[in-house]
Symmetry: C2
Subunit: 338 residues, 2 copies
């Protein structure tokens, strides 16, 4: 958690203007995803509480990632566009970059580990990207990326650590608040910090005193440790069911932004995440990937304190979960149907 | 299929005015469910086609059934309300009636077979209804219901065969067309015919020449046979994965309405239904019960002919599928993630 009385470490990296500009670029490209509500959830949250779910699992490519990727690539020079881009990801960022590149007519090369789910390889290729597979154990991803950027002149599109990426991700919160009005609490998953820092920027500009809470799993608590230490702490690559937040360290720019504007980071257990996936399936009929369910796990935990009368925004960040993982989670317990 | 040149069998049972009145009654009671869209589906349907899914699986109680049940019960006399209502259903109608009764402060007794899924028993009781279980093999549901209506003076709320039920169900199509504009094709599942006949009434009033298509599974083709015969044909109780349309005969009033206004009825196989459930999960992240996926199965079959430039409305009727059935369907094949 941040210490409220400590001075900001540095000025903010991005402002609400950057996010409004990103929103204009994304108009007609990214879906304006629906906001979902549920009386069951409202009642579970607290008397008079209202929970608004921003349904980024219904976004193009299955997650919010197209927002940042497109906002980055739309600002490349003609020369950079002509040479193409490279990204590495075994997950949602791969699909976000591939889709954004197709929209912009830019050639995309995506480095994916050879053991990435076949469905994600197929989806990424389906968007027209060239996929290069590498052996996680024997090859260095960074080395391959370096060769591609230097030798082929490709521009790297990072998954979170760039102001343009952060501004793009923040458009999700901007749409949410434009649609439902001011919020008292905003919850997002946090991995590298692109989504959290972008959404935080929006909330601080539009609902000054709201609590903004990044949520990670217990094993992946690099943000909690970093905020406590006051500097970016690196942890061993975490093992967690929330595969979208298996980062070992906060991003430089997202960390600076969070330090400047102030957000909390709290954790949930993998079991709580799985229960949240089941809850979303049984009660809201939504298929959300474990990472997307991380903030819901915190909401359901009761550890947020008294939410009476509060208006709570929750970023459901993505829905790309393989059928075998999903069925495994669903079969652990059979929830009630309502 | 109806023969277009045959004269109407009778005047319509209900009109658009009945449905508008039902919509006023339902205001603030039933959710105005969202309309979902998908570029993947649009592209699969045809060049320039637009498909609009009315998300009744996100309705209160998990299906459209609260619409008709509430519209029926809101029109009972004070005396009838004081005595209470009875309904029989192992599925969505039970929850719809229980929920509507609670809203109206009416005591509800629901007859459910002893082998109904425990989750549905719990959900129905959770809405405050008294559940009476009976043995499907040894007891007559109709006999028990007759005793309850005669001895206790309870009013029967039928699942489809009443003009008030039909008018209530039609509000789903009214909301859809109010939100997205005129449609060229409207698809609904058809069991007893409450939803089909209600939606048909709306479409004929607002988009005169649209195709309205009820969809049933091959085993449950009582509507296809009945429309061919020109009279209500009774078939053996069908075995089909679409448990919401296991009716053996069209309802009297719905059949009259369909004959009067003209709709087609087409069939899909159970395997096509399961593939549609998987498609909705993988591509749209929605959990829809097999019955709700029946019209999607027809849409994906290619048997609707050329849909170039067409605007197609699809009623996703419900989402109440047990975790074990859902996982069974999802595990049959692992679809691509996109």
């Amino acid at each position: 958690m941040t210490t409220p009385d400590s001075p900001p470490a540095a000025p903010p990296v991005i402002t609400i203007s950057d996010i409004r500009a990103a929103a204009e670029r994304l108009h007609g490209v990214a879906h304006r995803t629906p906001v979902l509500t549920s009386r069951t959830v409202d009642q579970a949250a607290g008397v008079g509480a209202h929970v608004f779910f921003k349904a980024e699992h219904l976004q193009r490519g299955g997650s919010f990632k197209i927002r940042g990727a497109y906002n980055r690539m739309a600002q490349l020079s003609d020369e950079e566009r002509a040479r193409g881009v490279v990204a590495f990801s075994s997950g949602n960022h791969a699909q976000g970059v591939a889709l954004a590149a197709r929209e912009l007519g830019i050639a995309a090369t995506i480095l994916m580990p050879a053991d990435a789910p076949k469905s994600k390889l197929r989806a990424t290729r389906g968007y027209g990207a060239e996929v290069i597979q590498y052996d996680r154990e024997r090859e260095s991803r960074d080395e391959i990326a370096r060769r591609l950027t230097e030798e082929r002149g490709l521009t790297l599109v990072p998954p979170y650590d760039h102001p343009h990426i952060m501004a793009g991700q923040g458009t999700a919160a901007l749409e949410l608040i434009e649609e439902v009005g001011p919020l008292d609490v905003v919850l997002t998953p946090v991995g590298g910090g692109g989504l959290l820092s972008g959404c935080l920027t929006v909330v601080r500009a539009l609902c000054l005193d709201a609590r903004v809470i990044g949520v990670e799993t217990e094993a992946a608590d690099d943000w909690v440790q970093s905020l406590q230490a006051g500097e970016r702490v690196r942890i061993p690559v975490p093992r967690t069911i929330a595969d979208g937040i298996r980062t070992d360290q906060p991003g430089v720019y997202p960390f600076a932004q969070v330090r400047a504007l102030g957000a909390e980071v709290l954790t949930v257990s993998d079991d709580e995440v799985k229960a949240a996936v089941r809850f979303l399936a049984a009660r809201m009929k939504q298929i959300v990937e474990p990472t997307g369910a991380v903030p819901v796990a915190l909401l359901l935990s009761g550890r947020l304190g008294d939410l009476t009368g509060k208006r709570i925004g929750v970023l459901l960040s993505g829905g790309n979960v393989d059928a075998d993982m999903l069925t495994g989670i669903l079969m652990e317990a059979e929830p009630d149907t309502e």
